[in-house]
Symmetry: C2
Subunit: 365 residues, 2 copies
Amino acid sequence: MSTETPDPPGARASERPDGPSRRARGRATMKDVARLAGVGIKTVSRVVNREPGVSTAMSARVDAAVRELGYRPDAGASALRRADGRSSAIGVVVDDVANPFSGAVLRAVEEVAIGHGTVVLAGSADEDGPREREVAQAFTDRRVDGLIVAPTGQADDHLADELRRGLPVVLVDRDAPGLPVDQVLSTNELGAAAAVTHLTDAGHRRVAYLGDLSTISTARRRFDGYRQALIDVGLGVDDRLVVADLHGEASAEGAAVHLLQLPPEQRPTALFCAQNRITVGAVRALRSLGLAHDVAMVGFDDFPLADLLSPGVTVVAQDPGLIGTEAARALFARIDGSRRPPRTVWVPTTLVRRGSGEIRPPQGR
Amino acid sequence: MSTETPDPPGARASERPDGPSRRARGRATMKDVARLAGVGIKTVSRVVNREPGVSTAMSARVDAAVRELGYRPDAGASALRRADGRSSAIGVVVDDVANPFSGAVLRAVEEVAIGHGTVVLAGSADEDGPREREVAQAFTDRRVDGLIVAPTGQADDHLADELRRGLPVVLVDRDAPGLPVDQVLSTNELGAAAAVTHLTDAGHRRVAYLGDLSTISTARRRFDGYRQALIDVGLGVDDRLVVADLHGEASAEGAAVHLLQLPPEQRPTALFCAQNRITVGAVRALRSLGLAHDVAMVGFDDFPLADLLSPGVTVVAQDPGLIGTEAARALFARIDGSRRPPRTVWVPTTLVRRGSGEIRPPQGR
DNA sequence: CTGAAAGCGCTAACAA
DNA sequence: TTGTTAGCGCTTTCAG
């Protein structure tokens, strides 16, 4: 300590010619690089950003200094000053990052984002409107360049606010009718109708509906598809066979057990499960009642190992990877300045026959 | 256009007294709030950050202006100037956000992060060392306060660099021996040994090992547990029954088929699958050969629906949620300044008996 | 082709 | 209690 020459009064550490500034948490700054290379700070900026018009000699000196100091530009400071203000970060708000559907969407978004030199902030809304807003707000507070949201359906106003401010937003999986926003959606209604038609084609006349929270737009669309398909073949909706507002496997299992214990004349011969957790709950119910090979079932949304159960579970598969990819593409188009009118991209669903959906109704009914 | 009074030369839009600056991409700034409230900018800063020593009258005026303008602070600009430089963002690099294990870790981290007012940058390394480094670097370029990483095992040097610079880092799932870093790990060796012992206790003497890339530290640990358990009961490792460096379901299925088609005297009577995708591949192999009820199997790491297969798949379950929670806690302790020596938290595994692991070896052998 | 000065939105240090 | 000034690390503007 005492052996070192004290700084002259007024000299701040960051301006000592003999050592780099270390204010930036152990990181070298552009100023440090400039000093080491013996050039102006703007030249460093040019080299780092690969702007044209720098002599190769300068360029080489700067690059050497960059390497020596392990310099990395501060993306935040850069965004602050930059004319377009871009942070090269986007936010993704899904239902639950731990859910395989959401995870696949997130992963696909990540791939596209990487190609744009952009990082992904990820958050879970958990079917909770206020949480959706808080997560999205935490992201916009960090000045993300855009937002991809699977809306809960309970907090569409904050999305409207962000759109009004000009923030690029793309909705995935669930729609928000009335908002002027790009959306990437599965063909929920068509897919549900295909599932139900598949069952009625096999002769089923009592097809039950098991669906989740009707605040969720996909739940409503899938129910619409179910109803329309029944009407189209001359069957109406029997309200006793409809259970909505389920949440999670356990409640679905309970509801399915209840339906399967109705008197024989009312009992459904087939189940349409409008969401993957509900499908799994229904599988458990069928197992526990020993009916897995007797009552038909088609689920909406595929899940791992559906083919390894017995019977295999017939599903209307979505394509979460494609949903994520399309959403990210649409978002970056907006970020890059596109002023097209908002557009909805429909991602098709596919009926995957595995056995459970091909079970015929009991003879003579 | 022509009806508006043109700005006097030299007057910049941001300094017009009659309108808020809109440079910040449609957002009001602190300056705008200050002007509207008729106070100094520092007072706004105090109110926004809930610093003490502001009169209630001022506070109310500022709050009103904040609401009227829809003002939200710029977290990036704040971090830039703030003494501690905190961005209130952390980065999480897992193998693949679409994988259920990683998703559960990520979700648990998110919960803890929310409690600290912190957002999560998420990225997938995809068993690729260079990609791991790039993703982590993209995060540190945004000045994250810390990093949670499931290391590929191929790029430990960049982690060492970050640690040296003083960036808080916590490793999850996989260890990096020799690095002075907090780690949160499953008891891989113990768990694998428990799985194998469970099989040998049932009388199996030829237990095969199916494992993934041995660059991954968990694969090595699990193999060690397998070997030790065999040695402990007086059985050695039969190299013909060991297949490592598998990647993905398909290669695991192929390897299992090969093992199960060995001549009867060499054929394994039980399989130990060291990773969940490998377990699923092995299930497919057993199914296709009609041996699912004849050859025993225990998998490492649980997966959804394992209990619904027949037989149910016996596994050594990990607790990814707890791993994520502990990792986040450890990280925030570091971020909050803890200087404890690096510590490893061991998260226990649990043997879950479901049927496949309780199959006995053929009589008389 | 290069660099000095200004300032992005905010907070720290200091003054009033 | 309140406001003013400087400056975080960077890019923009503009002068050499």
